[in-house]
Amino acid sequence: MSLNEAPMTALTDAQCRSLRALAALMIPADPATSMPAADDDAIFADILASLGRDASQVVAALDALDALAGGRFGDLAPAAQAAAAARLQAAGGPMVLALTRAVAQSYYRDDRVMRAIGLEPRPPFPQGHALEPNDWSLLDPVRARGPIWREA
């Protein structure tokens, strides 16, 4: 078998509901700064479209969440969802990492979110970034100490 042949996994409607509910629990809206929640329509559509290599681990995490909740996570009352999510987060591991990656990578590239955290919504290239001027006088004490390499 080749690892390169591992298939991608699509989510069912029920799994989508669960993931959406979990995303909102992980990153809720912040009205004070006009930041949306991670279950915002545009952000959640991006999450679903971008699962990629994490899809199978995300599905496994949702299955684990159902088991922790004792039912389909997306269909539970908010308090029960919060309790199950907290238990999943506490368990940690690759499934939680995959969930975190899936939600964060789409949330923190949304235009509204980037502006809210003080970034321009643009790719790094071609504009690049400016850095502050150098103060190489900081090297003076290092120079004063002299060579430290070992003769061989």
Partner: protein, 532 residues
């Protein structure tokens, strides 16, 4: 009729490019087979808004996660340090950070100085002119006068300190420790037709600006202009031998998966410390039943990584975040052996800048610093852009039980056995990592960090793959001689990190490329007697 080339190079990475360029002036017919593609700068992640996500996917440095069809899988179940590489023209230099330190004179003499491992059969003085030539071809930014090194002259000014460098340098000065601007394979100004760095952000997804010196934009264009032929999407399965026990060519699969044979007078392996032993061990014949060039039994043994410790801190004042090249400054305060520390040899601190918005969120949530739920946004705002830190790159010593073998089940897309890595962290390395975490924490606190964290060993840190076809004068204890030629097969050479006798406590690419130039020079000086 078989079309025989003079020199066949396997692998178009750091070493393959350097040796192809250097040998081109012989006017021999030189062909390189590379299993990956040419990279397009317009495809690199920093062209898009999803740049951090793509670095976690098709530009991830772990081949099993990246899983391009140009990659081969690696069984890494039995190693705490996972593999990082890239397959394509430029090889690992496509995704490397561009840290470009040389070895030190002491690194070639560890047995004589510290009573461990083996001395190299060559020394710093022998390699120095090739370091200088490689610096010129690559375009190295730095600052002359580093007290941790013999004199050397970088060809461009150093990369910027920025806020992070200034914060860290201040902490280092408070501790009274060595630091210096890092030698970096990143153009700080325009250089040889390449644009200077514009601080795009982390460089490890490939440089859209072309400022980072991956070998596809340094050696390879020059080699091709000089007549070298480079064939991409050609994956070598094995090296064949003739009745005289000489390498006769290679069997490979082309882009369509068709098995082909290329005859050659000389074969050069440049496939890194995992890819090279994989091909040698898969090149079994009646004459070489344990793999080619393996009469010593050393092929695939003595695998060395550089165990990494990552130490980071959060500061009240904003740092550089994702702006600027990751490379900044280094400290070699703890580089040379001091037995009172409880370990032999030493390490380099390489100071980095910060994280992009996505990585900051992932790291923060996975370490519990940024909660799920109501407190998420307040915690994120406090941490994002306020982190900086370092990695400690620890010298790993060769141990025969750390191996690359052929996996009995796992294969790549062409059915070639995948490599299996078996590695145990030594007690010496464990102590070195502990020391680095303690000292790194001290310097971050001295610099003003209010919250410090670490990971050691860094699980994803298997960037440097060394020692699995080591160099030496004794055919019973080494695979190649002091100028890279196989002891067993007189027309077979190895020029990648496999030949390293020891690992030093610095990134290997600069030394890999200098060694490739040195081996090429050794071959050219012996052309009339190359196989004797």
């Amino acid at each position: 009729m078989v079309d025989t080339v003079d020199v066949l190079i396997i692998g178009a990475g750091a070493a393959g490019g350097a040796i192809a360029w250097s040998l081109a002036d012989t006017r021999m017919r030189i062909v390189c087979l590379e299993q990956g593609d040419w990279m397009k700068p317009s495809d690199y992640p920093s062209n898009g808004r999803d740049w951090e996500a793509r670095q976690l996917a098709e530009f991830h440095y772990n081949p099993n996660r990246r899983a391009r069809d140009t990659d081969y899988p690696i069984n890494e179940d039995d190693t705490p340090i996972k593999i990082a590489n890239f397959n394509g023209v430029g090889g690992g230099t496509i995704l490397y950070a561009g840290h470009y330190p040389r070895f030190h004179p002491s690194d070639f003499r560890v047995r004589s100085l510290d009573g461990v491992a083996d001395d190299w059969p060559i020394d710093y003085v022998t390699l120095a002119p090739f370091y200088a030539e490689n610096d010129r071809m690559t375009g190295v930014s730095g600052l002359a006068g580093d007290p941790a090194y013999p004199p050397k002259e970088p060809v461009m000014p150093p990369l910027p300190l920025g806020r992070s460098g200034t914060t860290l340098a201040t902490g280092l000065n408070r501790m009274g420790w060595h630091w210096w601007p890092s030698d970096s394979a990143i153009a700080s100004t325009e250089y040889e037709g390449r644009a200077g760095c514009i601080n795009l952000g982390h460089c490890t997804g490939g440089c859209a600006q072309g400022a980072k010196a991956s070998s596809d934009i340094t050696y390879w264009p020059a080699a091709i202009r000089a007549g070298v032929e480079l064939r991409t999407r050609c994956r070598v399965r094995e090296i064949t031998v003739n009745a005289e026990g000489m390498a006769s060519g290679v069997v490979y699969y082309d882009a369509d998966g068709v098995e082909r044979f290329q005859a050659a007078e000389v074969v050069i392996l440049a496939c890194n410390g995992i890819g090279t032993p994989r091909i040698l061990l898969n090149s079994v014949s009646g004459r070489f039943p344990n793999g080619l060039a393996n009469s010593s039994g050393q092929v695939g043994r003595n695998l060395m990584f550089h165990p990494y410790a990552q130490i980071y801190g959060y500061f009240d004042a904003p740092q550089d975040g994702h702006r600027g090249p990751g490379n900044c400054i280094w400290s070699q305060e703890f580089y040379e052996t001091d037995q009172s520390r409880g370990f032999v040899r030493g390490y380099t601190f390489e100071f980095t800048r910060g994280q992009g918005p996505v990585q900051a969120a992932i790291t923060g949530m996975m370490t519990g610093r940024i909660p799920w739920g109501a407190g998420h946004h307040a915690a994120y705002r406090k941490l994002f852009g306020h982190r900086t830190g370092m990695v400690a790159i620890c010298e790993d010593l060769p141990e025969e039980h750390n191996t690359v073998t052929l996996d009995p089940v796992l294969t790549d897309g062409n059915g070639i056995p995948a490599p299996k890595v078996t590695y145990r962290l030594s007690e010496n390395s464990r102590r070195m990592l502990d020391h680095a975490v303690a000292r790194g924490t001290e310097v971050l606190r001295a610099a003003g960090a209010h919250d410090v964290g670490h990971e050691a060993p860094l699980a994803v840190g298997g960037w440097h793959l060394m020692g699995t076809a080591r160099m030496g004068t004794d055919p019973e204890r080494s695979v190649v001689n002091e100028w890279g030629r196989s002891h067993d097969v007189k027309n077979l050479f190895v020029v990648d990190g496999s030949v390293f006798v020891t690992s030093a406590g610095v990134n290997p690419t600069c030394t890999i490329q200098a060694l490739a130039l040195y081996v090429a020079d050794s071959m050219k000086r012996r052309l009339a007697t190359l196989f004797e």
